[in-house]
């Protein structure tokens, strides 16, 4: 009996949720987790440090393809695997852009894709010049190491960034910083898509996302009131990004929509993404199933919506005492439409602990019900 073995580096909730389509499709999923008792503990076959090439190499020997729960595996580790002949999806040449926001801006700009104004910054002087040129405010980012709002700061003068501009910090983040215009957006959108190594590409409908303290809190699928032109442009951007950067598997392109209807690329994630959790119930093929199919170079599944509207609300940790299970009874009885997902994580402030999805014929109903379920689960 043939076995297809997918190795996932990282034991977070994304690896956990990849386990589901692996079970359905009869695939073998193995996880290299950072620690015991991770959200993906059920599928964990090795615990170790993904920074250690020998650990990752040993793990890769047990599977047919390597993919990821996060983008933090060092490029030299990935390149060593590729040199060994391991199928790494997405490959290191794509992940290089996910790991370095400056390299990403350079490449997207080369491809002619719409980005906020940006510049490479080495010192206070160049930063202040950019701020002055952009109405006195800008977004400063460390090119490497940031996620969920970390490594990102609003600055109104170089004095707001004197720590990051110190020689020691600059050295740690690659010798320079990335500064971007603070986009005056009307809303944030995300375009989810998938691409196989053979080049098949499929996009889901565009979604609207809401962030709270830099962390995704709500997703509305499809994005309310988006014009056909916007939907097509967003899907085309995702296609050009995935082709131009050589991405395989699921890609999430986070975008700003401006008052005059322009889409500007904010961030990229080369893996299943919080903005795509709605697809578990909302789409014919979930992002987790699609990711497994894509990294195995199997044909992609339909991304058609299975309901008029899907709304996802994150369960974010409030303190270290959050415990959702005791509220399941109340949440499921008061909100029969709620599909509750929890990740078996220890709670802490702002941590992604789970999410609730509601599908409905009306976006308002779906949003109200998903919020109510989340509120009940939070014990409110």
């Amino acid at each position: 009996m043939t076995e297809l073995k997918i190795g996932v580096i990282g034991g977070g909730q994304l690896a956990r949720m990849m386990t589901v389509p692996a079970i359905n499709l009869g695939l073998t999923l193995k996880v290299l987790a950072e620690a015991e008792n991770s959200p993906a503990a059920l599928a964990t076959t090795m615990v170790g440090d993904y920074n250690n090439v020998e650990v990752v190499r040993a793990f890769a020997k047990t599977v047919d393809v390597i993919t990821f729960d996060h983008e933090h595996v060092p490029l030299d580790v990935l390149r060593a695997l590729e040199a060994d002949g391991v199928s790494v999806q997405p490959p290191s040449r794509a992940l290089a852009f996910a790991q370095n926001k400056l390299a990403m801006r350079v490449r997207l700009t080369e491809l002619g894709l719409p980005c906020p104004d940006w510049a490479e910054i080495h010192d206070a002087k160049s930063l202040d010049a950019f701020i002055v040129d952009h109405n006195g405010v800008a977004i400063l980012k460390t090119p490497i190491g940031g996620y969920d709002g970390k490594g990102v700061r609003v600055v109104r003068s170089s004095a707001d960034a004197s720590d990051w501009l110190s020689e020691a910090t600059l050295k740690k983040v690659g010798g320079h910083l990335l500064v971007e215009e603070k986009v005056d957006f009307v809303r944030e959108l995300a375009q989810l898509s998938a691409r196989t190594p053979s080049g098949e590409f499929l996009a889901w409908p565009l979604v609207q996302t809401t962030q709270r303290n830099g962390v995704c809190s709500e997703v509305l699928a499809p994005a309310p009131g988006a014009s056909q032109a916007t939907l097509e442009q967003a899907a085309e951007i995702a296609k050009q990004v995935s082709q131009g950067l050589g991405v395989t598997g699921v890609l999430a392109v986070e975008m700003f929509e401006t008052a005059d209807g322009r889409l500007l690329i904010n961030e990229l994630a080369m893996r299943p993404h919080n903005s795509g959790h709605f697809s578990i119930e909302g789409s014919t093929t979930s992002q987790f199933e699609q990711h497994l199919r894509a990294v195995l170079d199997l044909p992609l599944g339909s991304t058609e919506a299975r309901a008029k509207h899907a709304v996802m609300v994150n369960l974010l940790g409030v303190d270290d005492k959050n415990d959702f299970l005791p509220s399941y009874n109340a949440a499921l009885s008061q909100v029969p439409s709620a599909k509750i997902h929890t990740y078996a994580k220890t709670a802490r402030l702002g941590r992604k602990m789970g999410h609730v999805t509601v599908v409905a014929d009306s976006a308002e109903t779906a949003l109200a019900e998903a919020r109510l379920a989340a509120q009940i689960l939070h014990g409110n």
Copy 2:
């Protein structure tokens, strides 16, 4: 952090498919499997003999509730657990009827529920008398030990059952046999439902099933052309069976539909059932999620259809060389609508190896596509 731990006895594909909603809902599923490398190996925490009360007792200590992948755990083992204060769902008093077809007929008849004509048989004379009274043919069943067509035989005279009527065999099956009229049915139907220990009851829409060599081969949901009266009668039968027999969790009632529109109860299964696999893609709440919710006494989820039609086709083993994974590429590219499930089992003739579900607006389309995908997966 609270943990809700469900213990499943039996490591077959039903336990495997229960793992999925456990992951989604953040529940802990533990499986007591008969052997290593069962379809539910991922969630297996103990391997041992479910006939051994001490094995099952040790397993029960690790979980909050005990439920089942099959109905074969001896009643005295279950009663010992219940005496220990373990929550066993469904309880032994319900499973007694699933394990003994004669006890089931007695109880259903007491409840006034529609059954084929039946009788308890101790010898050749009483069997021949029943056959003569029923147009020269009858269905003979061993009260215990049968499933998927085993322990069931068409008889035209007691000579067809001389082996079963021997003193030795009669003793093994409980001292008597069950004989039933051979119903002249137009089709077979199955009514899936769930009930909680608190008494909440919900039914899915009635489905039509097709058997091949006594094994389920295709399921059409909903049952084509069923009248409103038939749908309501089927759901009412399931409700009375689950209440009258004290069933908790998922119950499948297999029924014959006669030419004059009567429904007659054929078999019962007190667990998720092959006739309910369509619900994974076809229903708001799958039978596997519902079963976990029911045995934990959580509120039940909506059984509403998520598509006009869902068709499930089983992947039955043809020989010991069946291997579906090499055909995934062809099946998924030629039938993009196919949702393939395989159970990681070693193949043998007639064995349930997996299934394919297709949902569509047309029953004909769904059936044709599901059959095509199954055919491709079989290498034809």
